[in-house]
């Protein structure tokens, strides 16, 4: 009898410590460690720059969240972001008004992700392959036909007010953080309180039963990718206006894996239907604390990558010990 009670208590304890909470605890632990060892780490200005440094990653993570919840994955997010925004900047530099240049760039981002969505929802190509192919296509097409000069497009001088998106501040809070917060709020409200938002969870949980239940599965799938594409464009604008350039080479970097890292680290299940905006925020915060601390300690980025991946492995190992796979994930696999 006693042993049984112990087991139950143990199970309650482990259930409390899901991945999100483990990662959050890890973040707090690192915060305390850095606060004790690094001078000025807890200064408000440093904390703001810490959050700011992961704002773009967070925004992209939210786009990825919308897709992953429906048991998909979007590997073309970074390509869409880079090419659509770089094209917008180039159009603005060549004399088009900023508003129409941005509009055209946004249309490109939405159009490309619409194609992706149709490939996945109607042609039933697995999202992994469809978005991998689209990422290469978007980048290749963009570099061959749209961005014809250098692969880094600098912010044109006529950009005006829009530069505030990356450089300005609202009540002392840098704009990238504000933008990330607004996107997070909209994503939260959308996923929690709108019908399509709930449908995404239903599809991610069990596509067949969602369809039987009357959910318009295919249009919702397409909408997921289009939303992600739109969010990618916003993330690109923040990147370009804060660094004063859009570097299309990011497509070749491991940024897309960082985006997945943020999402998975926070505890969003790649098998769909499990996770929310809070998970992405927690994941992004951990990465932010880590990167900021390591930059202060003057750790080279190659070693930063090693540490980052070790932390991810640690989080996953701890999660799989505390929350062993159930029958369902065993049958479906993770993606």
């Amino acid at each position: 009898m006693k042993r049984q009670g112990d087991g139950r208590r143990m199970r309650v304890w482990t259930r409390y410590f899901n991945q999100e909470r483990i990662v959050f605890a890890l973040t707090v632990l690192l915060l305390i460690l850095f606060a004790l060892t690094l001078p000025k780490f807890l200064a408000p200005s440093n904390l703001l720059s810490l959050v700011r440094s992961v704002a773009v990653l967070g925004i992209l993570g939210l786009g990825m969240l919308v897709v992953v919840l429906g048991r998909g994955i979007d590997l073309s997010l970074v390509a869409t972001m880079a090419i659509s925004v770089a094209w917008s900047l180039q159009l603005a530099a060549s004399g088009l008004s900023v508003a129409s240049a941005m509009g055209i760039g946004l249309l490109l981002a939405l159009g490309m992700s619409l194609v992706t969505g149709i490939l996945i929802a109607y042609a039933e190509i697995p999202s992994l392959f469809a978005t991998l192919a689209m990422a290469t296509f978007v980048y290749g097409f963009g570099r061959a036909h749209l961005i014809t000069g250098t692969d880094v497009v600098y912010l044109p001088p006529n950009i005006g007010m829009l530069a505030g998106l990356g450089q300005g501040a609202l009540f002392g809070i840098p704009m990238p953080i504000v933008v990330a917060a607004v996107v997070a709020l909209i994503a939260y409200l959308f996923l929690r309180y709108t019908k399509p938002g709930r449908f995404i969870y239903a599809i991610g949980d069990n596509l067949a039963s969602a369809r039987i239940g009357g959910v318009p599965v295919r249009p919702i799938l397409v909408a997921q990718y289009v939303i992600a594409g739109g969010i990618a464009f916003v993330a690109g604008l923040v990147t370009a206006t804060s660094a004063e350039a859009m570097n299309t080479r990011v497509v070749n970097s491991n940024m897309i894996y960082d985006v997945i890292l943020v999402v998975v680290l926070g505890g969003v299940g790649l098998s769909g239907g499990r996770g929310n905006v809070r998970n992405v925020i927690v994941g992004a915060l951990l990465i932010g604390v880590l990167m900021n601390g390591m930059t202060i300690m003057d750790v080279q980025y190659t070693i930063q990558n090693v540490i980052k991946s070790l932390i991810l492995l640690l989080a996953i190992v701890v999660d799989s010990i505390l929350n062993p796979r159930d029958e369902q994930t065993g049958q479906q696999g993770d993606i």
């Binding site: 004063e244 080479r249 930059t295």
Partner: protein
Amino acid sequence: MKTMHRLALAATAFVGIAAAAIGAARADDMNDPYRQPALDALKGKSIVYLPISIGFDLAQAWGGVVKTEAERYGMKFKSQDPNWNTGAMAQGLTSLIAEKPDVIVTQNPDLQSLARLLKQANAAGIVVIQMNMQGAVQTDAFVGPDFIAMGEQAAKMVVAKCGKGTETSHKVSIVQGVLTGGVSYYQVQGIKKVFEANPEIKVVSSQAADWDASKARAITETVLQQNPDLCGVIDVWDGQGVGTGAAIKQAGKQDQVYFVTSGGGAQSMCDRLADGTFSAAINYDAPGMGRDAFTAISAVLQAKQKAGTMKFQLYSPTRVMTKADVKAGTCWDPEQYAKLLR
């Protein structure tokens, strides 16, 4: 009769003189015995251009100039774009060695990756010109600035603003590119040498931004948070320096932080000097490097020796620029060269 005779004589003399004159003129035409051999040494030869990527200003200028000159002399010019992928570059080089063009113009992504292949290419009789980033092997020619000297120069400029006798924090930050990339590696060597001789300078950060402006911005933002009294920043390339400068500007410290960078003098460099993002920039004139590269090709082909026999370093002239030097047409437009390569 006598007059007739005299007339005939005069006529003959006239014709003779005229013929001689015309003959002389024709001989004049033939009289540059050096031109034809030089043209023959170049004509029909093939050049393959394989930089790290054709998508950035420097590579566009080098390739554009070399292509223009190559076509002027009836040479074949082909370019390959590995798009920042070292693996693709090594693969391209391997197949080029089999293909055996006369000349390869390339650029090393780092010190080691291509070193062995470049040696093989030389051994196969292909002339190899290395641009900007020299690998761990010397081939026919290296064309690029003396990066160690340039690092020293940049460091001395910073020492003048932040060193002994100045009322500053003496704190300096270095933004590197890729740790093992020649441009970054050798500049940092030069920078360190000068800073060691000036022990009052405190290097508070020396990190690699991977040639990426966004990373450079994030690194510099954090460095400025930790060291609000920072005095100087050196970035090893203006392409990523845009981000470093943006961080300084956004922290509102443009008056306090002296920021030096270097690059090939594309329009973006002039723009950033004019708006105060860069305090000063060392310009190594990329189109000039293209000219140097073609000069090297021309010299080696005319010398008609085995590839890799003559080995020389062609260091590019550099020029320090500030806001005051920026005028219309001081910098060049990469698009103009990109068009040539497309």
